[in-house]
């Protein structure tokens, strides 16, 4: 499902263990960053093939004199090839943070680079853009912000036709966008939203993926709900984003991942989700969910979790919109195949990405909470037992599983009839034996519903030493009232 394309930085020559270690470090750093609301990542587009062609040797750090020489040659060289070569050398040198620092502090350097960016020599233009891209990727704010004089041109070029060049401009802009609010305060009046909207009808997958990336960076900004999302929603972007998420032979996973994240940032900001529902967001995402489950069944699921995460979030949050409450019509999600698809994905998550189980179960909660139809589907498709199998995974997962079961049980006797006899009660007994307060609390809620609508279950509960299990928690502050109530119910049946 991935359309093979080059352009990602791959770690070269690393041992597997080194990779894992590096990944763990990265993960820890990202968690910390997120908690501090500083979660920012940039993309580097470096053409590995180009590196090979250029000799593959490690680029060295350039000093002031060398930089000046390359710039002079690039600008005023008499021979075209010579000018190109000079810029290429500069670009390779700029892979080093030291060279970047030297470069930006050199007087006139950025000005010259921008001049080359706007030259009519196409290959010089491309190389100048690559230089800017290296700078944009820097973690040093001063270096990235040095690219600001070029942004009006980068945006202008988005309306051009050269797909490689546009892709490069987009990734550069994407990197700059996350740099700081100050940068965005320049890009917004320069017309970045209309410029991005102009690209979304491009037929080139590489351009679309780059566009999705840049847009997702823009939408992730802290000030996005007030400053950015309204104008995005007012443009042609929403309907095209949904178009690019439609399942079918034209669906490209890399592109879909980026735009699914765009949609997530829009939806969870709660600016105007009714508009997305109006454009068929629910049905598109529902069909996409089915498509992903089908891909899992065909074991064509490489990288699927990257798409599943934002899609689940979008669906779950959209389901809470008032527009969805009004029954019937295309604004509703009422196809039980969605539930089937979700379970296939849950199984997939259990193997590949257990951290996605809570998000999947959140969707299941939102599907079943107010829907007798979906609760019935859970029963008729025999999904209670698979659900119970998830209880041991983690505390968070078990609370969510129990919540979904409560959604079913609270609908009344017709539903509880299918919950007992069965594996539910033994599982509940197991849960009550645990020390996780929230899990036990949710189990008590479920027990109350079960006792109320299926009184026969009380006897079975007592026979399985239910009272002794309950006693364990009768001193617990958060649980004791409910424990006592259940003890009373059980004894006075």
């Amino acid at each position: 499902m991935w359309s093979g394309r080059q352009g990602r930085l791959r770690p070269v020559g690393c041992v597997v263990e080194e990779l894992r270690c590096r990944r763990r470090e990265r993960e820890a750093a990202l968690r910390k960053a997120r908690r501090e609301q500083q979660l920012v990542s940039k993309r580097l587009l470096r053409d590995d093939v180009l590196e090979e062609v250029e000799g593959g040797c490690v680029a060295k750090i350039l000093g002031e004199a060398e930089i000046q020489q390359f710039l002079r040659l690039a600008q005023r060289g008499t021979e075209e090839k010579e000018r190109e070569r000079a810029l290429v050398s500069l670009r390779r040198g700029l892979q080093h943070p030291e060279t970047q620092q030297t470069f930006i502090w050199l007087e006139g350097s950025i000005r010259t680079l921008v001049g080359l960016l706007t030259s009519s020599q196409a290959l010089l233009q491309l190389e100048a853009a690559r230089c800017l891209h290296e700078l944009s990727h820097s973690e040093q704010s001063a270096v990235a912000e040095a690219c600001l004089p070029a942004t009006s041109y980068l945006l202008t070029y988005l309306s051009g036709h050269s797909s490689d060049f546009i892709e490069l401009c987009l990734y550069t802009l994407g990197n700059l966008i996350v740099e700081s609010e100050a940068v965005r305060r320049q890009l917004l009046p320069q017309g970045i939203v209309p410029a991005l909207a102009a690209c979304i009808q491009s037929p080139h997958l590489t351009v679309l993926e780059a566009l999705g990336y840049a847009l997702s960076q823009l939408l992730q900004a802290k000030e996005a709900p007030e400053m950015i999302i309204p104008s995005v929603l007012g443009s042609i972007l929403p309907q095209h984003i949904l178009r690019l998420l439609q399942p079918g032979p034209k669906l490209n996973l890399g592109v879909a991942v980026e735009f699914a994240w765009c949609l997530h940032y829009i939806i969870c900001s709660q600016v105007n989700n009714a508009l997305l529902i109006y454009h068929g967001g629910l049905s598109t995402l529902g069909l996409l969910l089915l498509d992903m489950a089908a891909a899992v069944q065909r074991t064509e699921d490489a990288g699927l979790e990257l798409l599943a995460c934002p899609v689940l979030r979008c669906l779950s949050n959209l389901l809470t919109e008032a527009a969805v409450e009004v029954g019937g019509g295309p604004n509703q999600l009422d196809d039980e195949r969605v539930v089937a698809a979700l379970f296939i994905l849950l199984q997939f998550f259990l193997q590949k990405q257990p951290s996605l189980l809570p998000e999947g179960l959140w969707l299941l909660n939102n599907l079943t909470a107010n829907s007798s139809s979906f609760c019935t589907s859970l029963l008729s498709m025999d999904l209670i037992e698979p659900l119970l199998q998830l209880l041991p995974v983690s505390n968070v997962v078990s609370v969510l599983v129990l919540t979904v079961l409560c959604n079913v049980a609270e609908k009344g006797p017709a539903y509880c009839q299918h919950l007992w006899p069965g594996p539910l009660l033994p599982c509940l007994m197991g849960m009550l034996a645990s020390s996780d307060t929230e899990g036990v609390g949710q189990s008590l809620e479920l027990l109350q519903l079960l006792f109320l609508y299926r009184p026969e279950a009380v006897e079975a509960f007592l026979q399985q030493s239910g009272l002794q299990v309950l006693e364990k928690h009768q001193e617990e502050a958060q649980l004791q009232d409910r424990v006592h109530a259940l003890q009373k119910t059980a004894l006075h049946r």
Binding site: W2, R5, Q6, R23, R26, E27, L30, R34, R43, L44, L50, Q75, T78, R111, T112, G115, L116, T118, S119, S152, T156, Y157, S159, G160, D164, F165, P189, Q190, G191, P194, C268, S269, Q270, A294, A302, L306, P310, S316, T320, R337, A340, A341, F343, I344, Q347, L356, E359, W362, T368, A369, S373, S377, D382, E410, K411, G412, A414, Q448, L449, D481
Partner: protein, 260 residues
């Protein structure tokens, strides 16, 4: 996690749902000390519930996750020359040629041969430089449109437009694609169109300044086409005609030297 076998066939079955079982609630359900109420939950963007998924997303962005990518496709081909009449650039890759073509030959003004980065800018150029009706109308109404796509403002003069670009859109004052047209006398020789970098300024701020910009140093347009050609669009169509009537090259000494 064992799924019932029928589930897989349900997935490929018809849309729809079974008849829901009857709902019958007892007021005692969820009554104190219990508190369960079935409800949909929404999470805002910064909620910690999203932490794991967000971290995975960023790991992907940082390329730490391994991905399934195909082999790179940037084949080198035997050298070939640009087919546009008068252009002798040589290429050995299709991507390079694509970029060259789009930069120099795609959005070209049929009057003065200047190339523009987009159709939008080309259209504005043709209107402001080669349409005599524009000059007449602009005396009575605001005709100079803002260059930023999505902005509908119009201005009386080119200078007003520039001020708007700088103040409102934070554009650089020396934005290359917004040079005012200075009125000139009779047509000057075409040869001056290609100007070397040195001639444009010692600090090289406008390097390689041929073709792309609407620059006042450049020559006035070539002699206007006669009669009825005014009626047709003067934009070079995307289906190019190679051959008669579409000469693009300039016969300047500089150009000859470059493409030796």
């Amino acid at each position: 996690m064992q799924l019932p076998p029928a589930l897989h066939s349900r997935l490929v079955g018809a849309p729809g749902a079974a008849e829901p079982l009857p709902v019958e609630r007892d007021p005692a359900a969820g009554a104190p000390p219990f508190h369960f109420a079935a409800r949909r939950v929404r999470f805002p963007r910064d909620h910690e519930f999203f932490e794991d998924g967000d971290v995975q997303r960023h790991l992907y962005l940082q390329d730490v996750l391994t991905q399934v990518t195909g082999a790179p496709e940037r084949p080198r081909v035997p050298e070939f020359t640009c087919q546009v009449a008068g252009c002798c650039q040589v290429f050995d890759s299709l991507e390079d040629y694509e970029h060259h073509y789009h930069t120099l030959h795609r959005n070209v003004c049929s009057f003065c041969r200047r190339a523009f980065p987009s159709v939008h800018l080309l259209d504005i150029h043709i209107l402001e430089w080669h349409d005599s009706l524009f000059q007449i109308l602009s005396e009575r109404q605001d005709m100079y449109q803002c260059l930023v796509e999505g902005c509908t403002e119009k201005f009386k003069t080119s200078k007003d437009r520039k001020d708007h670009l700088v103040r409102r859109h934070l554009y650089p004052a020396d934005f290359r694609f917004d040079k005012p047209k200075k009125s000139r006398g009779p047509a000057t020789p075409v040869a001056t169109v290609r100007v070397s970098a040195e001639a444009l300024g010692a600090d090289g701020e406008q390097s390689g300044g041929d073709g792309m910009e609407v620059c006042s140093e450049h020559a006035a347009p070539l002699p206007e086409p006669v009669g009825e050609r005014w009626i047709y669009s003067h934009r070079i169509p995307s289906t190019i005609c190679f051959g008669q009537g579409a000469s693009r090259g300039f016969k300047s000494t500089k150009k000859r030297k470059e493409h030796q």
